[in-house]
Symmetry: C2
Subunit: 128 residues, 2 copies
């Protein structure tokens, strides 16, 4: 865990958008948020749903999402203990703000991939 940054650039680091984009860009954060949007889930339930995340990362990301007020953690005193994670209203609004990006991705991924192929073909031609 490191603080934002120590002394650097005035343009990038201070920008509120940066912090949010970092969170959105986080490999798992948005994924978790989107999952919780449909229903509350428990720890291992999320773990299985995501399949590929280590429990360390899951635990870590959940903690920061909770810290940011984007989701809420509820421990239920059963034996063994049950913990339920649910999205907060704030988290929901963020998830909504991400939707246009999802849409863009789905609509334009093909074009991006095509551009990549073109670029790579071009480069290969030059290399020859």
């Amino acid at each position: 865990m490191k603080a934002a940054s120590l002394k650097p650039d005035a343009y990038a680091a201070n920008c509120p958008t940066r912090q949010i984009l970092d969170r959105v860009g986080d490999k798992w954060a948005v994924l978790i948020l989107l999952l919780l949007r449909s229903e509350p889930m428990r720890f291992n339930q999320l773990r299985r749903a995501i399949e590929g995340i280590s429990q360390k990362m899951l635990s870590q990301v959940l903690k920061s999402l909770e810290r940011d007020g984007l989701l809420r953690r509820r421990a239920i005193a059963t034996v063994p203990v049950t913990v339920e994670y649910s999205i907060t209203p704030l988290g929901s609004t963020l998830a909504e703000a991400v939707d246009p990006l999802r849409d863009w991705a789905e609509q334009n991924l093909k074009e991006v991939l095509a551009a990549q192929r073109r670029y790579d073909a071009q480069r290969k031609a030059l290399a020859a």
Copy 2:
């Protein structure tokens, strides 16, 4: 430079959204895109505008953005050479899809920070 991933999880890695979110989450990519939205810029012009990016990163990010078809690179044969980067239509639509996120960030950063303070205060109380 690594390929997407080799064999892992079916849920996270295959998702088109993941690739895009990675790009959006990239520390500089979106920043650059947003800058270019207003006007084409040259390499060192961007470098100065961002202030804090290393030229390695700038060069690297520019290259992948170009590869993705999100911006276009034009080398003009002057002495010394001039290179101009401009956003593509595809890049513009992505930038637009990011706007809701910017807005969310600006509107809700305060609340996020407040949540963080609450969380931290809570934790400190428990630690005592």
